[in-house]
Symmetry: D3
Subunit: 68 residues, 6 copies
């Protein structure tokens, strides 16, 4: 499935930390460069996310703020 | 200024494409790994964004969808 | 590709209106029930969107406000 | 109150699942077509949400990603 | 209509600047404190927005980043 | 650091309510006018947020819905 979101960045799951309802998933997208996603625990189970998985971090370009 | 957003990723501006009202800014965050941000032309001028600038791509973890 | 977003709703494209930089795409997800998405013209071309296409409207549950 | 959001879709609450801090509310917007919203437990109480309520699912068009 | 969004802040429209597809609307919510909203020109016309109107600025609490 | 977000509104922290994973932070931006932000408990600790702190509420203009 192709997506309209401009950022579909491939990477490897390096950490999955489940909270009570929300999980923080760290994805290594390039040597040492991490992106953190917070999704529901339900989504983690639904996707069967585990460390080492190859996944895509999907981010709309309008959700990227620039700081300078 | 420190931010509550979990993803504050440093990178280099490699392209600034102004539309009529919205600009697309490409940021290289790691060797070859690009993130696209769409901000207003006003913001581009306000920040004085130019190719080669070191900037931060700021993304809330709740705005990162995971695909597997 | 499976997504962490809770809402992946299938429907048919019934209208694609390109502005100067942004396009409005109307998707019929159930008899007469429309969802409007605004994406970049670039995305419309990239996905080759046309009336009659079967697509998914992808919405994070945290982006759905409830009014009563 | 009229809203600038392009998607104000009427439907019926069919499930309210409270987590520790966040609740998942399922809204049936057309025969069998469900939309899931995640809001705070506080909002559920504030709106007095209950199964069978007629509500609106409010979604900005820029928050709708398209997949094809 | 009551909303699940935690921030429903009343104010007065002090400027409406239409671009080609997107309009920037400035709302004065307290003496001198302005909030800027960018909505489609279609929404401006749909709501019949004009300077002096009393409106609500509606913002989900999860869309407010904190900087310190 | 200057930001592309149009709304960077200064205010004072008047309440920090930590849930199990998410904290609600109330910021007084003008005499009596409050903005609520929900961020992770981790962010609260990371920023060392406390009542009385001067902070910025950062909101993209595209995240502000208008109601009339």
């Amino acid at each position: 499935m192709k997506l309209s979101a401009r950022n579909v960045i491939e990477g490897k799951v390096v950490a999955v930390t489940k909270g009570v309802t929300t999980a923080h998933v760290k994805i290594e997208i390039a040597n040492g460069c991490l992106i953190t996603s917070s999704i529901t625990n339900e989504s983690v189970d639904d996707l069967g996310l585990a460390i080492g998985d190859t996944v895509s971090a999907i981010i709309k370009s309008s959700d990227v703020i620039i700081g300078k």
